[in-house]
Amino acid sequence: MESSLATSIGKIQLERPIMLASGILGISLDVFNRLYHSGAGAVVTKSLSKEPWEGYSNPTICSVKGGGWINAVGLSNPGASYFSKMIETNKDVPILVSLVGSIPEDFEFMVKQFENCKVTAYELNLSCPHVAKVGLEVGDDPELVKKIITTVKNTTNIPVIAKVGLGTTNYLNTVDISVESGIDAITAINTIRAMVIDVETKRPILSNKFGGLSGKPIKPIALRCVYEISSKYDIPIIGCGGVSTWEDAIEFFLAGASSVQLGSIIGDNWIGVFNEINNGIKKYMNDNGFSKIEEMVGLAKKS
C-alpha cells in the first residue's frame, strides 16, 4: 500500500506533515501560496500583534560559526488587523495564525479580526526569547497563560495551539497549565535565548545584543522536549527546532510529534527543502512498512 503523508494534529488535518515555522517568510499571501505549492503542509504566520511593530534595527539575523542561526528580528509584523485583510482571499493554504500579546484582551481582539478568514488554527507565541513583556515573559507566568488560553478558547471554535520554549521556569509548567486550560496542541520549542560576539569589532553582532538560537544546534534539545511532553501528556505535539532533513522529521515523529515545523534550513537550502523532506519521509515509510504518519508517532517511547 502506498504510504500517505497526511497527518492530524488533534482536529487539524493536513495533507503533508511539514509546516513553515512562525517568523519565517510569513508576510504575504502570495509567498504562502508559493510555499504551499513547494510542499509545505501548512504555513504559520509571523507572530502578529495588536498594533504593527517595526521590530529591531539591523543586524537582526546572523549565522553562528558553529552552526545554526541567531536572530532578534523583534517580532516585526503588520498587525493582526492588516494581516487578516490580506489573507481574506485565501482559499487553498492551511494557515496557522501566530499571535503574540501581553494580556488576554490583546488575544481576544486579534482573534476577532480573523472571523472572515480561512484559519486552520491559532498558535499562541508564549516563548519568543527576545522581546519584553510578551513571548517567554508571558509563558513563564502560569496564571496569565491560563487566562489567555481560556479567553481565546471562549472566542473561537478553531483549534488553539500553545508554542512553548525554554525560559526561566520549567517549560513543562507552561505545558501543564496549557493542557489544563483546554489547549488543543503544543508546539515545542521556540528559539533559545543566546548571543554572538564578534571578536574583530569586540561587540555583540545583533543590535538587540540577545537573540534566539535556531537551526541544527537546537534539534537535540527540541527532540528531548517533544519526548518529555509526549511521555507526560496525552496532547498532540508539533515538533519545532532545527529540522533540516527527513531523518530529523522522522526523529520528531518517533519522539511523539505528529507534525514538524522548519525555518532556519530555508536560509541554507531555500524552499526546495519542503519537497526534499516530504520525499525522504515517504521513502522511509515505504522502506519501513508504515502507511500513515500516526503509526510512527511516539514509537521511540516503547523501546
Binding site: 517568510l25 510569513g26 534595527s57 539591523n58 553582532i205 536560509g267
Partner: protein, 274 residues
C-alpha cells in the same frame, strides 16, 4: 579564495580609501577577494557597527582583490555608512542574490543614482564587439557621477554615455525614462538592463518590453536577513534577496507590486511616490 569562510557571518574589513563622487555620494574601498569577484546584480549585507546593517550592491575598483561600496547619504543608516572614515571597520556578509543575464550585440544600460553600481560592474563583462549605450539619470549637474568611469570601461567598444538631468543643468534635459523611450523607438537592442529608483526601472521595463526587447531590472527592498528567512523583501511571491535581485522584465510586469508598492519595516504595503 577563502574556502572556509562562512558567508553568512560578517567578515570585518577596514576601509582603505574614501572617494567623494558628489557632495552626497561616496565610494568606500576595502580589500576582499570574495567581494572583488561578485557578479553584477549580487549584493552584500553591510554592517556599520553600532548603527545598522544594510544591503549594498558591490562596486568595482581598479585594483585586483579590492571592492567598494558606493553610498548616497539619505537616512540614518546610509548616512552612517557615508561617514565611515579610512581605517574604520565594517562587517560584510554575502555575496547574495543572482546576476544579470548579459546578452551580446547592442546593449542599453539605464542607471539612476547608486543604481549605477551594478551597471558599472556589468560593463566589465561586455565583450569587445558589443555596442553599448549607457544612460545616466540625475536631478542636476552636481549629482552626476560615474560618467568618466563608464566611458573609460568602454574605451575598447563602440559606445555612448548619455547623461540626462531633470533640470537641464548638464547633458540632456529631462527624465532618463523619456530618453529610454526615445532610444527604444529608434533602435533595436539585444539587451536592456536597469537599476535605480523603482519608477525609473518600471518605465524602462515597460518601454523595452513593449518593443519586444530582452530587459532585466535589479530591485531594491527593505532587507533584514538577505538569505530568504525574514520575508521583508518580498514583492508579491518573489523574494528580492533570494529570487533576485535581478528579474526579467516580463516576470516583473506580471507582478502586481512592482512599480507600485514596497513594504515598510512592519511589512505593510506602501505606495511609491511618483
Amino acid at each position: 579564495m577563502d574556502l572556509q569562510r562562512n558567508h553568512n557571518y560578517p567578515k570585518v574589513c577596514l576601509i582603505e580609501k574614501v572617494i567623494n563622487e558628489t557632495h552626497t555620494v561616496r565610494t568606500l574601498v576595502f580589500s576582499d577577494e570574495v567581494m572583488s569577484n561578485v557578479l553584477p546584480g549580487q549584493f552584500a549585507m553591510v554592517w556599520i557597527p553600532g548603527i545598522n546593517e544594510i544591503p549594498m550592491s558591490v562596486m568595482i575598483t581598479n585594483e585586483s582583490g579590492k571592492a567598494a561600496f558606493t553610498v548616497r547619504k539619505h537616512g540614518p543608516s546610509s548616512t552612517g555608512l557615508f561617514n565611515v572614515k579610512v581605517g574604520q571597520q565594517i562587517g560584510i556578509r554575502g555575496p547574495y542574490g543572482n546576476s544579470f543575464d548579459l546578452k551580446q550585440g547592442k546593449l542599453l544600460l539605464v542607471g539612476g543614482g547608486t543604481g549605477l553600481v551594478p551597471m558599472m560592474r556589468l560593463l566589465t563583462f561586455v565583450t569587445p564587439d558589443d555596442d553599448v549605450t549607457v544612460l545616466i539619470g540625475a536631478k542636476s549637474k552636481e549629482e552626476v557621477f560615474f560618467e568618466d568611469l563608464a566611458n573609460n570601461l568602454l574605451k575598447k567598444n563602440k559606445h555612448q554615455v548619455i547623461v540626462t538631468t531633470d533640470d537641464g543643468s548638464y547633458g540632456e534635459k529631462g527624465f532618463v525614462t523619456d530618453m529610454v523611450e526615445k532610444l527604444v523607438n529608434h533602435h533595436h537592442y539585444d539587451g536592456v538592463y536597469t537599476c535605480g529608483p523603482e519608477i525609473m526601472m518600471f518605465k524602462t521595463v515597460q518601454s523595452a518590453y513593449s518593443k519586444g526587447f530582452f530587459v532585466q531590472a535589479s530591485l531594491e527592498r527593505m532587507m533584514k536577513c538577505g538569505v530568504g528567512l525574514c520575508g521583508s523583501c518580498c514583492v508579491g511571491e518573489d523574494l528580492v534577496c533570494r529570487d533576485g535581485t535581478v528579474f526579467d522584465g516580463e516576470h516583473l510586469l506580471s507582478n502586481k507590486e512592482f512599480g507600485h508598492y514596497y513594504r515598510n519595516k512592519a511589512g505593510i504595503l506602501e505606495n511609491y511616490k511618483i
